[in-house]
């Protein structure tokens, strides 16, 4: 456990309780967002981690060491810190800005210069910018420097306080990509304070939702979208976003029909026709004895064959389009719709047939996501929502794989 916070409480002398019994364990490489309304204590909690504020009670440990017993100056040098107002020193060049903490740590001039070069590459900015002053850069470029400066001394934990709040949406998105890259590829651990739900859901491995100094919900973005803890969380996320998010949190297995009409290759034409009649379908999926998907047979193909004893294997269409059960709908929907088929078989990792997705079910999901509201407002338990709940109760374990 890289960072652990236990029973944190912050009470101001005027009796206002900013943070109340905050508990969190953070693993190396996680991206934790603190989100909540203003005054929810999210920034206060973050600032206790590098002792910019001191908790009234409770402990914070980094690598098992209680930070209240550490030298606050040394502690802060070991933790990256990025603030909303960028906080670059306007009288220092970009290079000097990047070198601040390495210099405080007494790195040699050569090592510092080398690191500055590395950091500006990481920020995806040209090396010439090292000699410029912050005022000569755009807001987005300045914050890129602000972000990489926080890593310049190989800090493992980076604290960010609404770092992209003042940037325009396009610039913000490119900076989000930058921090995501730092977390995923360099394994940095981020504690990220934001009030932008999209940002939190997009970047985080876990989201901490706070209200009035208390943790309301701590979970992965997917789980928060699936099961908002209470009305506050639902409101914070927004009805719209919950529906729009469906393609991205639902897996194929959650909307598929189980027990599709299937036949083994050794059966005859007669058997196939009987089965189609019984199940009232015009297509049969073909699986071997172990249930592995082989192909499909279509009524059109069968019509051309006269001998009723012909085995199914003779007219099995082997070119079958299928999807993985654990794939997200958002990732597969385009491919499915482009194929122009009515039904798509769903297989597990070993290509065993597990179900079938109908084009209708898929279109419903996409339609809702685009329109942003359930097709039928009078029936909150629409088939899709029912599926979500069913999936959540029955397949929670499976889908989290």
């Amino acid at each position: 456990m890289l960072l652990s916070m236990e029973h944190l409480r912050k009470e101001y002398p005027n009796g206002k309780i900013a943070v109340d019994d905050f508990n969190l364990e953070v693993d190396r490489g996680e991206f934790i967002s603190f989100i909540g309304t203003s005054g929810s204590g999210k920034t206060t909690t973050m600032r206790m981690i590098n002792r910019m504020l001191h908790q009234t009670s409770g402990t914070i440990k980094i690598d098992g060491k209680d930070i209240s017993k550490m030298d606050p100056v040394k502690l802060r040098r070991s933790i990256g810190y990025v603030i909303q107002n960028i906080g670059l020193m306007p009288h220092m060049t970009i290079q000097e800005n990047i070198e601040i903490v390495p210099k405080l740590l007494g790195w040699s001039k050569e090592k510092r210069a080398e690191q500055a070069k590395k950091m500006i590459d990481l920020a995806q900015l040209p090396a010439e910018m090292l000699n410029r002053y912050p005022g000569e850069l755009s807001g987005g470029q300045q914050q890129r420097i602000g972000v990489v400066r926080a890593l310049a001394a190989d800090q493992e934990i980076i604290l960010m306080d609404e770092p992209f709040g003042a940037l325009d949406p396009i610039t913000r998105e490119s900076l989000q990509d930058l921090v995501k890259h730092l977390q995923e590829d360099l394994g940095k651990t981020f504690i990220f304070v934001t009030h932008d739900m999209d940002e939190a859901l997009h970047l985080s491995t876990r989201v901490v939702i706070m209200s009035h100094g208390k943790q309301v919900q701590v979970d992965t973005p997917e789980n928060i979208l699936r099961h908002p803890a209470d009305e506050f969380v639902t409101n914070l996320i927004g009805e719209e976003r919950l529906i729009r998010a469906q393609p991205n949190i639902l897996s194929v297995s959650q909307i598929m029909l189980k027990n599709p009409a299937a036949i083994t290759p050794d059966k005859t034409l007669d058997d196939a026709i009987d089965l189609m009649h019984d199940r009232r379908v015009d297509t049969l999926l073909v699986t071997d004895a172990d249930g592995v998907l082989q192909g499909y047979v279509d009524l059109d193909d069968i019509n051309r064959i006269t001998d009723a004893t012909t085995p199914v294997s003779r007219f099995t269409n082997k070119e079958v389009f299928y999807v993985q059960a654990n794939a997200l709908i958002g990732d597969t929907v385009d491919r499915i719709l482009k194929q122009g088929v009515k039904n798509v078989p769903v297989v597990d990792a070993k290509k065993h047939l597990v179900g079938i997705v109908t084009r209708t079910a898929l279109v419903d999901i996409v339609y809702d996501a685009l329109r942003g509201a359930p097709a039928n407002d009078e029936q909150p338990a629409s088939p899709i929502n029912a599926d979500i709940h069913a999936a959540a109760t029955h397949e929670g374990g499976e889908s989290s794989q």
């Binding site: 100056v73 802060r76 603030i83 909303q84 306007p90 009288h91 405080l104 002053y133 005022g135």
Partner: protein, 208 residues
């Protein structure tokens, strides 16, 4: 003019030297006291106004009265003059230091502390450099005041270019009056120009 320089040339150089010495000593003392005090004031929100008001009150004491008040304490000569002028130099430096330090963006201060600078490092590396242009303009203002008022120091026996002026006034000799006044004006202008240069140098490139 040439005649004046032939007669009083050596004396003029001597008096200019005294004048500069009194002014520089007073100004240096002013800087040494007012800059740290101004910085300190930004750290204690409550006392700041009181101290700046007090410095303002000292500023309103007539120069002659202040000089006269120094005599019982320090006697006559350059010491009482330096002390009196030092008191005059305090306010502009103190006020500008305070305003300059207050003007440093809280984000810069927060970032400096959050990155692990000690209080001292934050001062030396971030806050003072950023406040330097404002502090310097206070010093510059004080410098011109002090040079002008050092003229009066002659009255309590401190010497300086004021000697020419007072002699001229007593003897109705306009050449002596001008011979004292013009160098004072030139001196003030020159020092102001040089400190202006210095102010420009200490101003971070990006803030000019």
């Amino acid at each position: 003019m040439i005649h004046f320089l032939q007669v009083y040339g050596m004396q003029l150089i001597d008096k200019t030297g005294q004048h500069l010495y009194i002014s520089a000593a007073a100004l240096l003392l002013g800087i040494v006291v007012a800059v740290p005090l101004g910085i300190l004031l930004t750290r204690m929100k409550h006392g700041a106004n009181a101290v700046i008001t007090l410095a303002g009150v000292l500023q309103t004491i007539p120069a002659m009265a202040l000089l006269a008040m120094m005599i019982p304490i320090f006697g006559i000569g350059s010491t009482p003059a330096i002390v009196a002028l030092f008191i005059y130099s305090l306010l502009p430096i103190l006020r500008n230091t305070y305003l300059g330090m207050e003007g440093v963006s809280p984000a810069v201060r927060d970032a400096a502390k959050g990155m692990g600078m000690t209080w001292w490092q934050s001062m030396i590396r971030a806050e003072i450099p950023l406040a330097a242009p404002v502090i310097m303009s206070g010093i510059r203002l004080s410098a011109t005041y002090v040079i002008a008022w050092a003229t009066l120091a002659s009255y309590i026996g401190a010497g300086g270019l004021g000697d020419f002026i007072f002699n001229g006034l007593n003897l109705y000799r306009s050449d002596l009056i001008l011979g004292g006044s013009i160098p004072v004006i030139l001196l003030a202008l020159l020092v102001d120009y040089l400190l202006g240069k210095l102010e420009n140098t200490v101003t971070p490139r990006q803030l000019r």
